[in-house]
Amino acid sequence: MLSMKEKLYDLLSRILEIHKDEINDEISPINTPTWDSFNAIMMIAELEKASGVRFDMADLMAVKNVGDIKKILDKYKIKYEC
């Protein structure tokens, strides 16, 4: 089984087309041109599928970078590191 962190990094890498090693908490739409509105939607859909959680709109609005995504996973008590 992949850990949530691996799943998250895997989907970010696939959708944003960046290498897993380059992903850090500071990755955001500002420094990553592939993080456009359409890819953001796909990230949500993939993350919901991987985690089994349905995020609400406020969660989505609060995301400004990868670090924020981890905070939301924390909020739903999803451990992203096993």
């Binding site: 989907l11 696939r14 959708i15 509105s37 359409f38 939607i41 796909m42 990230m43 949500i44 859909a45 993939e46 919901e48 599928k49 995020f55 609400d56 709109m57 989505l60």
Partner: protein
Amino acid sequence: MNALKEKIISQSDTMASCILLSKEIDKISKKIDKKVAVLSNFTVKGLSECLRVKSFINDIFLQVYEGEYGQWKQEILGNRLYEFKPDIIFLLVDAHGLDNNIIYGDDGTNHDEIEKSKKEAKNELSQLIDYIKRKTNAKIVVSNSVKIWPPIAGIFDSKLKNGYYGIVDDYNNNLLKAYKNDGQVFIFNFNEWLGYIGKKNFWCGKYYFVADMRLSPEAIPLLAEELTSYLIPLAGKKKKCIVLDLDNTLWGGVIGEDGLSGIKLSPTGDGQQFYYFQKLLLSLNKKGVLLAINSKNNEADVKEVFLKHPHMVLKENNIVSSKINWNNKAENIQAIVQELNIGLDSLLFVDDDLSNRELIKQTLPEVSVLDLPTDSTKYVQTLLDYKGFNTFEFTEEDKKRNEMYLQEKQRNEYKNSFIDIDTFLRGLDLRVSIKEVDDFLAPRIAQLTQKTNQFNLTTNRYQEDDIENFIKSGNILWALDVSDKFGDYGTTGFCLVKDVPDGWEVDSILLSCRVLGKKVEEQFFGFILNELKKLKPKKVRAYYKPTLKNNQVKDFYKTFDFCKVKSSETEDIWERDLSDYRFNKHDFIKIDKC
């Protein structure tokens, strides 16, 4: 290619993975089988990639044109759509997007406004569809409108003069009625489909407010899969025959162990799921899908079930080929396609046993395999969800198909009882009727030129209007009808001869594989040569253009004493002078000239 197909089958469930997989398809092939345009009044971004990926599973390569966001009307009225030359246009239009009055319905004060909105929504859409029809012959698939639950007026909606459901139902019914008899326009019941996958989860949820996506992105791969129902018949990838296992597929249990009274098959209680699965198979059979059996069993046990079990829905006369033995199932499938003279790629294999399914997937990758779930109560829905039997038309041929194949089976049994072929043919009471092609026959002739591969000397493919043009410009077009004591084969042969200055030129001659092996091809062409001689006893030039499938006819003209005057990789040219031609008529074939 098969590796990518496997990968797609297991991974194409999200939009993000479809987008990546679509890029992988680009890497392995630049092929385009069909061009698809998608126009919508709600966001379906990503549908293009999903369509390409889901079609690839069915061996169809697509190029997709996605209309600009929010501009479906401009797209229809502009030129870009038509410059793309689509083969099919998906018009996904939801009435809520056409007018807001529709969703809020009657509040007691706005009756006139609603009447006006209803009319406008209907007129606008039909005008746009008619405009597309004037610009292209592409198939047009129009979605109906979604009805959401619950209506704003609640339980009183059914009492309102213009209740919400009343309005949307009217809109949907009008759409259905307007195009009922139009072969170009098909109505996609988007509302029912969305209900099936789940409106509560997939329609106007969070994504609508975040990104203006009425249809949730999770539903887009599912929509693409559903729309392959139109792409499969469009690309000619329809399946013709279901190859069925028996134990735990057509009935519960194992006949060899449980016995006639022990197997589960009943219209009530235990065994119901198998009874209704057979009902579904029977209904497909009536629509022209052939059924064959491939089972490891003792033939006598199975015969007993077919003859004596009170609840067997399928009867022996629904089955065109039976392989009941202890051979491996791949060998049996080979035997079935040979017997029925159809391609491996026109089969669907249905078996509850995973190892048998794997065997077929590995050894005969052209065969489609239905992944039956372990739970037999899900068989019916699994087969219903399979898209490969969809069709744009239901022809006389489809209605008669089962009967025709059964007749062929009887013929073969009859044939096996003879030692020499002429005695067999003599006993068949063969009758051929040769007639000139008229406009009435043109659709069937065009279909024959499209479908015939084996006995086809030049494989020239023609459309209906090509045939009509040949008739108009004074060429000689003959059609062949064949029947025997077991039944009628219908129009199964065609020959097109052109009048050229130094004699005649045979443009096409073909026979459907159903009538091969009866020497009617010799009679058909012999008769034609004789007629040509009467008209003008000069030289006949004929061609053989080799393809992967027509090797059996490469020396056809030799039989008629033609000389090969030129031979190259792409064609052989044969010639013969008609002045000394004599027609050898077989005494066992009767020729009616109409």
